[in-house]
Symmetry: C2
Subunit: 444 residues, 2 copies
């Protein structure tokens, strides 16, 4: 994962040039939030904070980067000197990873000298946006099939290697069982899963021979791909190999289907396996699966034990981006607000309070000015002080447990894959009053 300080938009640096020249280095408060939900989303799941904190802690321009900036001729020597020693010294408040949230609710607040808070905008959005996008997409499959083995299969069509790694992380956080991406195992401790590809079968002249050799090479992980030529014939070959493999002490752990009508094939294959005495051999399915297809397969009670979910999840194909922003809310102690057409924001430092009904189900949130009295559970917590992460940040496993609890608290109506009703998010009277004051100051 690259944490180069040059992972930013050029306008951040041209603005810093202005800020430094005018000594505009008082405290600024920026917040990251989502403006509105994509179609077919009823809620979002916060993810990416761990990578944000690492980025902020390590933020520093290398001497090569400063030399390169100098070579562009766009920066004055005094500004380059400031950049050369820049560190992030601010505070961060955030919703813990795994928190369910809604539009207009800040999930991260940065309080730092203006140039620092400005420079980090591009990469902070880049990190929070993507993992939140994927965790929110993955959660949909988790809620549809809570008792199934769900594996991220998306590396190849994820948008680059960082996307592949962070999609593995975000989907695991949201409740997936693991990922096929090996590096995600090493980097994040995520359980990794894998079987065989069609090419393995095709290198052999006989499919059965390929099955035997794979099982011998992977005796504890003998999951055999049976659809290269004919799915049911493949299942029968697996049954026919049972005795020979058992004699070697190899159990046929599972078969994988990757094409055709998965529910229909699964039913036929289940019968063939059961008749052949392989009733403990599981059926794993992959191939173009997303939460919509998963819902169909679950509704049909297809006898499938696990699913590989790839491209559609790792690209969040039905909603490949979120309408999100990182906006200035306060500078030098004065609340600020953007009022551009269709893009106005609520001003000031904010907190989000969540209320639950007596069954522990979320009943409504309130967004209000920080430190205003409000009922409910405050969602933003301090996670970094003076540029150092506060000790005891949740592990990935803890974030995953939080996501599970949060998703369990979702109203049933919000779990629908489409046409979910709007969850109540109230903008408090205090916040509305502050917006009015800010507007009067701007127009006055």
């Amino acid at each position: 994962m690259s944490n180069s300080a040059l992972l930013t938009d050029l306008y951040q640096l041209t603005m810093l040039q202005g800020y430094y020249e005018q000594n505009m280095e008082e405290l600024a408060v920026f917040e990251f939030f989502v403006r509105k939900l994509p179609e077919n989303r009823g809620y979002l799941v916060a993810a990416g904070l761990a990578q944000v904190l690492t980025y902020l802690e390590q933020l520093q321009f290398s001497s090569d980067e400063i030399a390169w900036l100098a070579s562009t001729g766009q920066f004055k020597p005094a500004v380059l000197d400031r950049l050369a020693t820049l560190k992030f010294t601010g505070d961060v408040h955030a919703m813990p990873e795994g928190t369910v949230f809604f539009p207009n609710e800040p999930l991260l607040r940065i309080t730092a000298p203006l140039p620092e808070a400005q420079l980090i905008e591009s990469r902070i959005i880049n990190l929070l946006h993507f993992q939140t996008l994927i965790a929110s997409k993955a959660a949909r499959s988790v809620l549809i099939a809570p008792d199934k083995l769900l594996v991220d299969f998306g590396m190849r069509r994820a948008h680059g290697s960082e996307a592949a790694l962070l999609a593995a992380r975000a989907s695991y956080l949201a409740g997936f069982t693991g990922s096929a991406t090996v590096a995600a195992g090493m980097d994040f401790g995520i359980p990794i899963f894998g079987t065989m590809a069609h090419s393995f079968i095709q290198t052999y002249s006989r499919e059965s021979q390929a099955f035997v050799h794979f099982a011998e090479a992977n005796p504890d992980n003998a999951v055999l791909l049976i659809d290269t030529y004919d799915t049911e014939a493949g299942a029968q070959k697996v049954v026919d190999l049972k005795a020979a493999l058992h004699a070697q002490g190899i159990k046929i752990k599972g078969v994988r289907l990757d094409s055709g009508d998965l529910a229909d094939h699964a039913r036929k294959v289940r019968i063939i396996l059961d008749r052949g005495g392989l009733n403990k051999t599981t059926i794993f399915a992959s191939g173009n699966i997303d939460e919509y297809k998963l819902e169909g397969l679950m509704a049909q009670q297809a006898p499938i034990d696990g699913f590989g979910i790839g491209t559609h999840m790792d690209t969040s194909a039905d909603a490949p981006y979120l309408d999100c922003a990182y906006k200035l809310q306060e500078y030098a102690g004065i609340a600020r607000r953007k009022r551009s057409e269709g893009k106005a924001t609520w001003p000031g430092r904010k907190q989000v309070y969540r209320n639950y009904n007596d069954k522990g189900i979320m009943s409504g949130d309130t967004v209000t000015v920080d430190n205003a009295p409000c009922a409910g559970e405050p969602l933003l917590q301090m996670v970094m002080r003076g540029g150092k992460p506060i000790a005891g940040q949740p592990t990935l496993i803890e974030a995953r447990e939080r996501a599970k609890r949060q998703l369990n608290g979702l109203p049933v109506s919000l779990r629908q894959l489409s046409n979910a009703p709007e969850y109540p998010v109230i903008i408090s009277a205090e916040l509305q009053a502050l917006a009015k004051i800010v507007d009067e100051r701007i127009t006055g």
Copy 2:
């Protein structure tokens, strides 16, 4: 850019375990191709080969990675020993970056000992898929607005940092003028562009003061964002500052619009600027622009000189992935073919030949077996031999020039943003005969 050998799917490693154990290390031929075009695409633009060649040349497991694999308990010591010394020693044939191509045409062919050719599948797809996706998306804007300044603004919502960098590269390759992503300037020599954000304006109590300070800090790049409060009022403030800034030797290079009806605002702003003697001050527009909106703005002859195109391009929002594959075509000298339902592929090593009409416009391609006689320009070239790139690989600028020539050769009907007709791609009689032979061998 990470080139870890663990950027792969676990099944590649479980298959390698089988291949090593059975001494299946003869030459394998794999090809990467796109099965079918997404809706609203009439052609694709090849990109990502440079990163593939770097990946292959550097491919190596580190001792930490081998130790981690050992710790999973899934790999036998003999296999880990082989992985520890694995290098890519094969040949690569490919279409040069910037080549326009169509479904069923291989754009890359790997010829290498089976374990090597297998291991690299996941990352090769990951690299070729993403840049091809973005170059193909970006080319649509380039063809709609060939004489405009087009700048990649997408870093923040690109899927991670590698996606941001590679989207900057792929869009520049396809004809964009540059990118806002600073690291793309340092890493790839791409021209970088940037102005100011709303937050810069908001930190000041007066918009005019913000304009003056920004222009003083960036005298050669005074592009002022005028929509924070009221676009036309902002334009008038710019006019009012003209004399004072000119007295300091500062030319107001441009203004930026980022919200509202861009064509309407641009027309009004153009009049205000021209009346104020700023007829050389350009208008730059951004905010949710993609090729569809661009087409509308061009049709309205909106007086806009340049466009920032971000999220929609960097995520290829209307088609966030391609249906592509990397498939075994030959092993140990024998052609192979996958026949799974709906996923059958053409077997053997292939070449693509392109023909042109007398005006230099592409008139049809033929996919045939390698070395079969065929009319036209062969598109696949050898680019790596024995694991080493062949000298004289095109620079990014050369790839960009090739893309420009290729896009100039596109039939006009294929340039439509939707409902483009199908370009003729013929599967040669030789290739059809080979498929028949392979099928007879499988079923026989």
